[in-house]
């Protein structure tokens, strides 16, 4: 099965070290659907790829017959700025989309650590950043999808309006699905106005309990930051608060927040402010260490800082960035595989922590730990859906999470 847009796989196409036999780059939705249909008919193990920035997330595949790339499905289809919605092909990058939306003072409030991350990949992984505090994850902003399925059909769910309860929300179902149900041809999002002004408060701590107390004071106040983050880096702890609104409201909130904090804080604006948040988003991904995603009960932040302190004593260099009010974070641990594996087990056995997933890991580490952790009690239902959408079991086969 060699279509016009298909070529031999090369080392650059490797999925977690496994070189695919072929790579297809369909140029339109129908070709994408036909490619999946043919792959399903021939039981070709298939991995979907946007820009490949998160392609290593998941278990190591035993074989990859085909990588299907959405790189050529890269059109921003429509920006309905009056309605504050936009529809883009799955292969459009978040950066490209937000550049276009900014022309009308709007944005899709999602952040990625990766410049080339595509809309399709972001939805398929439901990956998010600090402004999740206010806007949620991609699934909360997604209002419609078109999917290409393994039976060759193109189907849609949701629509172009922000309020809509007609039919099953397949957009939610593919959020976090890692391309296991079908390919995201296009996605429609609700958009937000770019705030007129912003300022960031950056406060450092050397004591996790003091940080946690300050965090709780902010949480229980009526301040409404756009992002509310913590960073733990060695013995240096930080709280970072982003306020974005009208100019007066920003400065009033910054003043109120400073009064709540027990430690001196710096007000950062302009380009340095961008740098703070770039740092917050990218630090966990710097270097080559294992990156672990985990959740915690928000009120247990003090316990989390203690846990991070304890593991850094054993594991050496670690860095953790997270969302204070959500209880969601990423941790990078350098060090050898034994140390990394022990850390994953340690997190999984902690009563304060849950949903520990290893996103970036060496093949060696993946031999030692299951990157996804234990399955949920609803996994049976998810598997039934998987069998329905992909009866040949070709999509992201064996890589999880299902």
């Amino acid at each position: 099965m060699i279509a016009a847009s298909m070529r031999q796989g090369s080392a650059g196409d490797a999925v977690d070290g496994v070189v695919p036999r072929h790579v297809a780059e369909p140029t339109d939705a129908n070709e994408l659907a036909a490619t999946l249909q043919a792959a399903s008919r021939d039981t070709q193990t298939t991995v979907l790829r946007g820009s490949g920035t998160k392609l290593g997330w998941g278990r190591t595949p035993s074989v990859v017959d085909l990588v299907v790339s959405t790189a050529k499905l890269n059109t921003l289809l429509i920006h309905r700025h009056g309605d504050m919605t936009a529809t883009a092909h799955g292969g459009v990058t978040l950066a490209q989309l937000n550049r276009e939306l900014a022309r009308h003072g709007q944005w899709l409030p999602i952040e990625s650590a990766f410049d080339a991350a595509t809309i399709g990949g972001i939805v398929a992984t439901n990956d998010s950043g600090p402004v999740r505090h206010r806007y949620g994850t991609p699934r909360d902003l997604l209002i419609g999808v078109t999917l290409a399925l393994t039976d060759g059909r193109l189907v849609k769910a949701g629509g172009h309006v922000v309020k809509n309860v007609a039919g099953y929300d397949l957009g939610k179902l593919v959020s976090g699905s890692f391309g296991t149900f079908g390919a995201i041809v296009d996605a429609t999002f609700k958009l937000l106005p770019i705030p007129q002004a912003s300022a960031t408060l950056d406060a450092s701590y050397d004591d996790g309990e003091v940080l946690a107390r300050d965090a709780m004071r902010v949480s229980t106040s009526q301040l409404e930051p756009m992002a509310f983050d913590v960073m733990l880096d060695g013995a240096q702890y930080r709280l970072r608060l982003l306020f974005a609104s009208s100019p007066e409201a920003v400065s009033a909130q910054v003043d109120s927040a400073r009064r709540l904090l027990s430690r001196p804080s710096t007000v950062v604006t302009g380009d340095p402010e961008m740098d703070v948040w770039t740092d917050q988003v990218r630090s966990p991904w710097a270097g080559t260490g294992a990156v672990i995603r985990f959740g915690w009960l928000p009120a247990k932040l003090a316990e989390i800082t203690t846990l991070m302190h304890d593991v850094s004593q054993v594991a050496g260099s670690i860095i953790m960035c997270g969302r204070v009010s959500v209880g969601a974070g990423l941790m990078r641990v350098d060090g050898d595989v034994g140390t990394q594996a022990a850390l994953v087990q340690r997190l999984r056995s902690s009563v304060w922590v849950g949903n520990v997933a290893v996103l970036r890991a060496s093949p060696d580490l993946k031999q030692h730990v299951d990157v996804w952790g234990p399955a949920s009690s609803s996994a049976g239902a998810t598997r039934a859906l998987k069998n329905m959408f992909d009866p040949a079991g070709i999509l992201n086969a064996g890589r999880g999470p299902i």
Partner: protein
Amino acid sequence: MDERLVEEFCRIAGAENVLREPIKLLTYECDALPHLRQTPALVVLPGSAAEVQAIVRLCGEEGVPFVARGHGTGLSGGALPVPGGVVISLARLNRVLDVDIPNRRVTVEPGVTNLEITRQVAPYGYYYAPDPSSQQVCSIGGNVAENSGGAHCLKYGFTVHHILAVEAVLPNGQLVQIGSPLPDAPGPDLLGLIVGSEGTLAVVTKVIVRILRKPESVQTLLAAFDSISEAGAAVSDIIGAGIIPAAVEMMDAVAIRAAEAAVHPNFPPADTILIVELDGPSSEVRELFAVVEDTCRRAGATTIEVAPDEAQRMRIWKGRKAAFAAMGRVSPNYYVQDGVVPRTKLPEVLGRIAALSQRSGLPIGNVFHAGDGNLHPLICYDERIPGQATLAEEVAGEILTYCVEAGGSITGEHGVGADKKDYMPRMFSDDDLDVMQRLRDAIDPRRLCNPGKVLPTPRLCGEVPGPYRQHPVEAAGLADRF
């Protein structure tokens, strides 16, 4: 239903919690869409998740269809019983299990009312955001099934944005957790699929909701306009200025007249009334509210009333929320429609609705969530005049066509249920609907879980949309429609 089976249900839930006398079954014949009625064979009121599980298992073994029901306030017949089937009423599962203020979450059973959650957390300065108009009486389980919205979902989103996890019984009888109390559970968003699935994929037995800190300040204004297009321009300009109000509501002259007749909110005389509410930090609300006022004035507002206190704010909202039920004061019967259009298409679609009203001779009132384009046209008619009920139904259907043609939806918040399933093909292709049906069959292969809802089936004899009739909870003054 044969005696052996009835005894089985009695053994599971206790004989006192199994209803089969016709008089007791009457309550369960319909939800708040009373023209669709069906007597169930049996109503069971389980007292625990384990009992729900046993009931669903028994239904599965015996091939008996079942319909979960909260407090029966749904507006699309989502809880309409199935002939020969069982209604599982979750009214007894009404305990608040955990109020966790530090972690900003509350765990409840499905029969707890929406407003009860806010009541539980209000003393601490928190609230549960989704606020359907029936919030005093509607159940959180029903909210999960319908993905309920409310006046404030423009800024705060719907039920699906405020649920962390549910415990549910799947049609195969398995009791599972869907979603996670902690963020980022790996895998597809099954929770997002279940929320809004209208009771067709699972019976929810426990819900963990997120609560929000009360905003520091709330400001509400009412602006009167001489035309709906001026009011529409004001809405566009407010949102174009980068302001996301907590709520933006519009009422036309027909709706204003009805509201005045019913609850005397003392609205200024106007062709169109716009209600705008901002909330958030005081500094932000103060600054942006001035922009909103100015925008309304420039768009041609003839009067602007700013609510000086909570009592006046409530007066404005009372007038707005009473508009549906108030139609009874100006028309013998009326039909409530729920459709959505992209906000910029509001003037065009409202124009088409006005022309349709002229052409059909039926007055149509408009009350709607202008911020998100969610229309609620109220089609007035008199069922005593032969043919008017059918005409009203046709008019209501025509309005949905306008919504779909404008790129919108056949329902923004009331759900598809039994009422609108035959309109689904106007919005979705055969392939779209086939995939939805197959998805449903993957979870419920025997088609026992709330069958006959959401997806189109040939319409049954006598099953036609019909007039609005006041629901008992409305008559008792416990709820308003939205």
